[in-house]
């Protein structure tokens, strides 16, 4: 549903990349945020049994192979990945440090879709580096403001060239606020627009496959067919008790339940559980929930010309399992306890997601598809 996207945040050590990454990670639990150095460290340990401090001790060929392996780790995530990276390092063999060793590989060039350069003022970088050295969080070379300025200039020029060569969108930003705004404008909004379009098309296709009926019953899932919010129950299994409700955190960012909110929750599903665990946890959640018996009775006595469709913004796999457990034939066209299912919530597994506009689309597409049909909708909230 969305194109897997890798965004690099580059700058010199001490510019504030880690701080930016940590802030963005806190605000966006649905993004995969990685410190490039940590990915390299993982590979170093795997391949050479060394720690990150010893990276500079291995030969150039080995370093390149470690970087390539690191890039492979960064790829393969179906959502948005934000990675901090270094374009170059000062050449310490030169006492005045006027040259820089470039470490941007062709693998990097093929992987990144966007690179943002954190162009922090060199005096700020100087102060932050000294601060880091004092608190001995990280060992930093003692470089003057001038050298830092040169280093950053070199990086910006090199990265611009590399990005032009590889078709990567390159932008410089002055601080975290600018980075946040640029990310939203250049990365997130186009992603949301493309996903919206694709989701609408896929939903339309799904609606076309529904059986013909005189009357359609569109039933919401959570808090309508059952008493529970199954999405919340699912995430309770994933996150520790008393930790922040990540799904709620995402919805609270928006005034209404917009498509973007649902898309970000769909990215959250991709982010926090592997597919196998997702299926297991969905089944586990479903087995602890039951549909109101008034519904199972009613839905088991429908005449053939009345067709029920579960239309849910919630977890599709939970509803699929729950319906089957309670004796429904999911997506059957005829027979007692038949139920079609229109639901999507996971960017990696489902071709569409359902926001309230999507639910409205179900009504209008059914009206177009089946002349003269009657549509009854059942739900517990104004967003149904």
């Amino acid at each position: 549903m969305i194109r897997p996207t890798v965004v690099g945040v580059y700058s010199v050590s001490g510019a504030g990349k880690s701080h930016a990454l940590s802030e963005l990670s806190r605000l966006h639990p649905e993004w995969r945020c990685l410190e490039g150095s940590e990915v390299i460290e993982e590979v170093l340990l795997d391949q050479h049994g060394r720690s990150f401090d010893q990276f500079r001790l291995i030969d150039e060929e080995a370093k390149d192979s470690v970087r390539t392996a690191a890039i492979q780790k960064i790829k393969g995530f179906r959502g948005l990945t934000l990675v901090t990276g270094h374009c170059s390092f000062p050449d310490v063999s030169d006492a005045d440090v006027t040259s820089f060793k470039d470490v941007f590989t062709s693998g990097d060039g093929e992987t990144y879709d966007f690179i943002f350069y954190l162009d922090t003022a060199s005096d700020v970088v100087f102060q932050q580096r000294n601060g880091d050295s004092i608190s001995s969080k990280r060992a930093r070379l003692n470089l003057s403001e001038d050298v830092l300025e040169q280093w950053m200039q070199h990086e910006k020029t090199t990265l611009k060239q590399q990005c032009d060569q590889h078709g990567i969108r390159f932008e410089t930003v002055k601080n975290l606020e600018q980075l946040t705004n640029s990310l939203d404008e250049l990365v997130i909004q186009p992603l949301v627009d493309a996903a919206k379009k694709q989701s609408k098309e896929a939903l339309r296709e799904a609606i076309q496959t529904l059986p013909s009926a005189d009357v359609y019953l569109l039933l919401d899932g959570d808090r309508t067919l059952c008493a529970d919010d199954t999405g919340k129950l699912f995430f309770d299994h994933v996150f520790e008790a008393n930790s922040v409700d990540r799904q709620k955190q995402i919805f609270q960012r928006y005034k209404d339940y917009t498509f973007q909110a649902f898309l970000e929750v769909a990215m959250l599903y991709e982010r926090v559980v592997e597919d196998a665990d997702y299926n297991l946890l969905s089944e586990k959640t479903a087995s602890a929930v039951s549909i109101y018996c008034q519904w199972t009775d009613f839905l088991g006595r429908l005449p053939e010309n009345v067709h029920p469709i579960l239309v849910s913004s919630g977890n599709r796999e939970i509803w699929e399992t729950l319906l089957k457990l309670q004796g429904f034939s999911v997506d059957a066209e005829t027979g007692i306890r038949r139920m079609s299912l229109l639901a999507g919530n996971h960017i990696g597994l489902h071709p569409y997601i359902l926001d309230s506009q999507g639910k409205g689309l179900v009504v209008s597409e059914l009206r177009r598809k089946v002349g003269g049909c009657m549509i009854l909708a059942f739900g517990d909230s104004g967003t149904c």
């Binding site: 005189d214 109101y292 008034q294 177009r368 002349g371 009854l376 909708a377 739900g379």
Partner: protein, 286 residues
Amino acid sequence: MLESADRGYIVLDDRCNRSMKPFLRAAVASSSNHRLHQLCVSDTPEPIDSGAWHDGIQVACLENLLHEFENNGALHTVEDCSRTSAAAAVLATQTRRSDLTGPALQAIHCDVGRFLSDRLLDAFPVRLVQQSDFSHVQGTTFAGETTRGASVLIVPLMRGGEPMSRGVHERFPTASMFHWDDDQGDLSVLERLLTAGTVTDVILVDSVINEGRSMRRVLNRMQGLVPSALRERTCFHVLTAVMQQQAAASLPFEYPRARFLTLRVSDNKYKGKGGTDTGNRLFGTC
């Protein structure tokens, strides 16, 4: 979907979902609140505490809905405009006056056609309205709403439906029109229009439906002419100035995919003939 469906059922459980309150207030105040119901679902057989029901929205229950399905499979009824619209009642009065005949009465019927078409547009915007670009008075272009043409076929039943159909045609100026005559043998034009595959909405127009024999004949014939691949998609809309009560009760049940719209439903069992027959009054052929 609750607001855009034909009927929306607000489901309340015994925990009285607080997020519903603003929606319910807006729903009670809105003009479409007659389409909304509140429904209580729980696992216990005890009825919900009556204090939990909201004023202003009719209460429903699943058992009653099942009975409705048994009695009237497709659930819809004839829309009787005079019941809810003062404008419809005024127009209906004009059609019943003995001092209006010939062209004056035809003009009233044309008005009825326009009025019912407007109601039809409100009921089926997805099917009957489309966006198009227009030239604005300020010299720019703007996207506006217009009625569909290629997908609409107007079929007046001759001769009583003819003046009304002129009003319908005004509202759907780019639609095709086929004059249905019971005696006409050659339906090749009609067949051609229906098999072309562009028509999705057929508007059948007649001034009066008594027992409904003529309309049933036309509906049966027309439904048979629609290619089977297009049958699911095609909607028949029946417009009439007056419909007898018995026909109003049975036609929607017999034709679950057709929609019926009348200016008024009459409980007068008197069937017009001679000077009281509408066709004679319209065309001076008593």
